[in-house]
Symmetry: C2
Subunit: 225 residues, 2 copies
Amino acid sequence: MRQPTSDKENFRNTDGRIARGEATRQRVLDAAERCFASDGFEAVTIRQIARTAEVTLGVVSFHGGSKEDLFKTVLARRVATLDDLRKAALAEVRARGEMTIRDVVDAYLTPYLDIASRGDPQWRAYAQFIARVASNDDYFPEVRELYDPTARIFIAEFQRLRPGASAEALATVLTLTVASMLSIVASRARIAGLSGSDAIDQPMGYRAMLIDFCTGGIEMVLPSD
Amino acid sequence: MRQPTSDKENFRNTDGRIARGEATRQRVLDAAERCFASDGFEAVTIRQIARTAEVTLGVVSFHGGSKEDLFKTVLARRVATLDDLRKAALAEVRARGEMTIRDVVDAYLTPYLDIASRGDPQWRAYAQFIARVASNDDYFPEVRELYDPTARIFIAEFQRLRPGASAEALATVLTLTVASMLSIVASRARIAGLSGSDAIDQPMGYRAMLIDFCTGGIEMVLPSD
DNA sequence: AAACTATCTGAACGTCCGTATAAAAAGTCA
DNA sequence: TGACTTTTTATACGGACGTTCAGATAGTTT
C-alpha cells in the first residue's frame, strides 16, 4: 500500500488542492464499499472493485493495499461519524431531562436509519455493509472492537434506567436491538414478500415500528424495579 | 449428480441394508452442512467439503452435484423437520385453549433454540447454517420460499390475536422476531464480550429473555385493540 | 530544463477454484 | 463365475483469483 507522503501535509498539495492520488484513493474506497455492501467480502474480487472505481488493477493495491486492508479501511472510515451522531442524539435526549428506555433506543437507532435512508448512495452502501458485516460474527474479530465502545455507552444508559438488570440481560437486549435494526436494512425484501405489499421505500419508514418493537422488548426483559 | 436408481427402492439394497452410496451421500451432505455453517457459501471450497467428509474430490460432485446443488440440498434436507416441530408446538398451544402473543412466539422460537442446543452437532450446524443464510437476503431467492409457508402460518396467528394490525406491521414483527432469534445463535460471542462474562453455553439459556423481548416488542407494535 | 517523486499501466506469476472424465475398484445379481 | 451397475480414484482443464513489479507517465520542486 502507498505510504503516507513523508515531509509535507498528507492529502494536500502546497497550493491546497486535494492531491491527485487522494481523490483516486477515495474512488477506490467508495467502490469497495459498494461492492462489499452488495456482495460480501469473499464474493468480491479486486478486479470488480477496480472496474467499479474505473481504475486499473494495480491502482487498487497501490491505494488500498490487500483485500483485507481494504475491508478494514472501508469499515473504519465512517465509524467515527456514525458514533458521533449517536452520541449527539444521546446528549440531546439527556439535555431534555427525564429519560426513558424509548429515548435511548431512539438515540441508538435513528442515526443508523437516517444514514441508511440518506440520499447519498455511499452512506446507504455503508449501512448495508454494516448490516452484512455485523450479522456474520466471524468476519474479522477487530470489526467488533470498532463498535463496542459506543455499544457500552448505551448499555450504561440502560443500566442507569434499570439498575436491577444483570450484565447478561443488558448485553442481550442491546444485541437483539442491533439485530433488529440491521434486519430492517437487510431484509426489506422479505417484509415486502410476507406482507404482500411493496416494501416501504426507506428504512426510516420502519422507524416507528422498530423503536416500538425494541422499546417493548427491552421493557419486558429488564424489570422496571 | 448421481441419478436415482431406476427400478428398485431408492436407498436400500434388496436385503434392506442402506445402500453404500447413500451413506456416503449423507456424509458429504453433513460435511457440507458443517462447512457452510462455519464459513459461508462463497468461502467454502468443494475440496474442503471433500476433506471434511473424508472422501475424494470426485465423490462430492458425484453425490452432491454442483456447489449450488449442495447448498440447496443441505438447506432443504431439514426444513420439513423444523417446520413440523413448529406446527406441533402451535397445535399444542392451540389445544390448551386461550392463546396469547407469548404462546405464539414461544411456539415459533423454541423449536429452533431447541435444535440449536441439541447434543447432535449436525443439528447445531444446521441452526448456524440457517442463521447465516437468513441474514443474507440474496444467497438464493428460493431459500426464502422454503420458510415462508410456515412464516405465514404464524403471521395468521398474530392476526387472529390482533385483528386491527396492518399487513406491514405483521410482516415486520415476524421479521424482527426471526432476526432476534437468529442473532442469539449467531452472536453469542458478542453478548459475552459486551456483558463481560462468559457466554451462556446453550442458546436455550437465552430462551426466556428472547421470548420476553419478542413478546414485549410485538405487543408494543401491534395495538391490543 | 533537469532531477525527483507520486501515480498509473499492463502484463505476468503462482495458486486454487469448480467441474469433468477415463479408468479402476467394489458390489450386485443372474 | 461372469456380466453388469454403482461407486471411487486419480488426474486434468480452463479460468479466475490476489498479488507483484518493471516500466511508462504525470506532476512537483529545484
